[in-house]
Amino acid sequence: MPDRIVEIDRLSFRYRRASEPALIDLSLTIDPGEVLLVAGPSGCGKSTLIRAINGLIPHAYPGELTGSVLVDGRPTTEQKLREIARSVGTLLQDPARQIVGATVEAEMAFGPENLGMDRSEMWRRIREVSATAGIEALLGRETANLSGGERQLLAMAGILMLQPRLFVVDEPLANLDPLTAARLLSTLRHLADEGHAVVIVEHRVEEALDLRPDRVLYLDEGRTKYLGNVAGFLEVADPSAVKLPFEVVLQRFRNGPVGAAAAAPTPPVLEVGDPARAPRLEFRDVRAGWGEREVLHGVSAKLGAREVVAVLGPNGSGKTTLLRTAMGLTPTRVGEVLVDGTSIAGRSVASLATTFGFVFQSPSQMLFARTVRDELEFGPRNLKRPPEALEGIVDAALRRTSLDSLEDIRQRPPLTLSFGQQKRLALAIALALEPPTLILDEPSAGQDHRTAALFMREVLTIPGLESIYLVTHDVDLALAHATRILLFRDGQIVADGPPGTVIEDEDRWTSCNLRRTSLIRANAHWRSPEQRFLDTEALARLVLARDGSASGNGRKGDSSVGAP
């Protein structure tokens, strides 16, 4: 086909310093108007595939390449990046790193400027693209002042300016609230309908399916496990590795054991304590913010000493700021924050760290020491713990996070650990100060479905922990693991209650940029009112059990796939 955009033939690639190939014997074609979803767990070769298509491999990433990648009929090895950039536009995962212009117009013009485009043509495209991408209101603004969602849309506009035939999009949903993510997907669908091709890499398959992909490439350890239509993919995909719609998971459970998920236990819940006891954390009409901007507009809430509380809401609504005020990281302007019944005014962050273990989104923001042991001893030393107690503290922290099973872990340099292990180390660092409560900021960020779920399970089984407060965009993760939800919008709490109750008001839910996932619909359909919200595997097992009892009673239960 002469119009074909990409032809990959038996591509294998090994990075220069790697011992194993990142991609093995991959063949693929991409035609105009086609949407290809690339799914798979972390390390499956998705990023390498993107680099091979957009020419960074071999132009920027040297290594051993066999097979061929043709863009517009010509091998990428024989084209300059400048030529490939005219056909392939790439949206990287983190828009903050991708945006190089200081203003919105400068960012949009960056690509055309590099291609030597005429000034009047650039202005014409800026007008056209800003309308298409829905960012006309952003024109004239400085990029440093944009929100995460606005940056994502601007990064997309920067690619649209080049009018490529193919859009390659790397995990665009990772940093977006569900409704902003839906908006981006709709732009991509529109592009495909206009005849452009789209390659989207995403492990949040359920949401990516809104894009109505024509085909799915399912990768695992660099190899193609499946390439074909969506229906076929849903039959072979491992539900523990990628996030699939509930109906699909249920069907797969009915067909027999499903990967790791079949053996996964129900998510544990911390023991709920005495409600009469003073709350661990109380906000009394709190106003707080950054610089001149007020983010929290009079928040009042009591978080119990034995609760798992998830804070949900749109990008920039103040979720993280709320929990930062509890640690004294963001000062309170008006109102009061109390910890265990006492105001935190005048207390240092260090003293609050013995009550709250704060785990930041990215572990690399804190790791600095030569060894894991030094890293774990840093906090206790700061708090003047006796030297003879340090070894016991380190051992306990490693044991509570299951890191002690890794060989020679104490002497390992922290930055040589995998991302998942670094997340657990960040957890261990917080636990080394022996706090009864953990605060988790986006615990699933940067992790695929399997590792995020595993991480949450591990957190909930940490012995001696009383409560967990978390901020997340992952609706299902929050609903399945929390005992209580705080719904945030525009710096205020708009709903507060058990997961099953908070999701009942659909209008309120969607007004907080949250979507009704298939799991929410399925819980509403299958779960009895007195039951807690169940995660995918637990709910699937519940339905199977009902199927069994219904057939045992000689009748077929109401269990048709997709019924919710």
Binding site: N54, G55, L56, H59, A60, L81, R82, A85, T90, L92, D94, A96, R97, Q98, I99, V100, G101, A102, T103, E105, A106, A109, F110, G111, P112, E113, N114, L115, G116, M117, D118, R119, M122, T143, A144, G158, G291, M327, L329, S348, V349, A350, L352, A353, F356, F358, F360, S364, Q365, M366, L367, F368, F378, G379, P380, N382, L383, L415, I429, L433
Partner: protein
């Protein structure tokens, strides 16, 4: 903490000038100012510089911290060097004698009318330079730095690096703040003032290492993003059009004239020598 340059002079008379004028004004002014040692003329230069600065309409409350740091730095530099370090005075007319007030205890450094005048002259000169220089950071559109330097003959890769610096200072500052917070929740006391400079620097390792590691990792993504939009692969155009209007030409000409006058005066008058105010000379 916010290190980010902000476009505080937006819309002002100076911000409406071609940014090349602002860059060249600094160059000509500095070369003019370093040739003048007569404190009366240096004071005049300071007045000119402040008038120029005022035309940028930079709100003082937004930059008072930067002014405070600049004045502190200049004071330490000038008075520390000029008076306490050696007491030597340059740019005295031939045969001039020093009028000594006394000597610093322990150091024995002489303090004279000449050394005081020297320090004051230096102080005024540096303040004038800073007043001329501040609009560079606050009255040029952040998106125009690259094209400004490119049009002044700087190779575009270097010129764009200036753009990128302005662009990423806020990001770097944000990462720095996050890392500080991440270490504070581990009990790190950022205000601890114990020990010598080396010990204090060592205590900053938990902040510096993650910030630098993250900056390097982030730079890799940025380089990829720039490569993927064909940066540095051939002829480049700039969306921002720079054109000198008549006012720009007049301003530029004024600074060129200032430089020429200062240079000629240096050879033909006593402007390149210290002038000691009579009231400073002890009777």
């Amino acid at each position: 903490m916010n290190f980010a340059p902000r476009y505080l002079g937006r819309g002002s008379w100076l911000a409406r000038r071609d940014p090349r004028v602002l860059v060249l004004a600094v160059v000509f002014f500095v070369f003019a100012a370093i040739q003048v040692w007569d404190i009366r003329l240096v004071a005049l230069l300071l007045v000119l510089a402040l008038a120029y600065y005022r035309s940028a309409r930079i709100p003082f409350r937004e930059v008072r911290r930067q002014w405070f740091i600049a004045i502190l730095f200049v004071s330490l530099l000038v008075f520390g060097n000029g008076i306490f370090a050696s007491g030597r005075v340059q740019r005295l007319p031939d045969g001039a004698v020093q009028h000594i007030y006394g000597y610093l205890p322990l150091l024995g450094t002489p303090i004279s009318a000449e050394s005081v005048t020297f320090a004051l002259t230096q102080f005024l000169r540096f303040m004038a330079m800073i007043a001329i220089g501040f609009p560079l950071a606050f009255a040029i559109d952040p998106a125009a730095f690259g094209v400004t330097f490119a049009r002044l003959g700087v190779p575009y890769r270097f010129a764009y690096a200036i753009d990128l610096t302005w662009r990423f200072i806020p990001s770097f500052a944000a990462d720095f703040r996050t890392t500080m917070d991440a270490q504070r929740v581990r009990g790190m006391d950022l205000g601890e003032r114990v020990g010598g400079p080396l010990a204090r620097l060592r205590r900053q390792v938990p902040i510096l290492v993650p910030t630098i590691v993250n900056a390097i990792a982030g730079a890799e993504d940025t380089i990829d993003a720039m490569d993927l939009r064909a940066f540095g692969t051939g002829r480049r155009t700039w969306i921002r059009e720079l054109r000198l209007d008549p006012t720009d030409r007049v301003v530029l000409l004024a600074f060129v004239a200032l430089f020429v006058v200062a240079t000629v005066a240096g050879f033909t008058t006593s402007s390149s020598f210290l002038w000691i105010p009579p009231f400073l000379i002890p009777s």
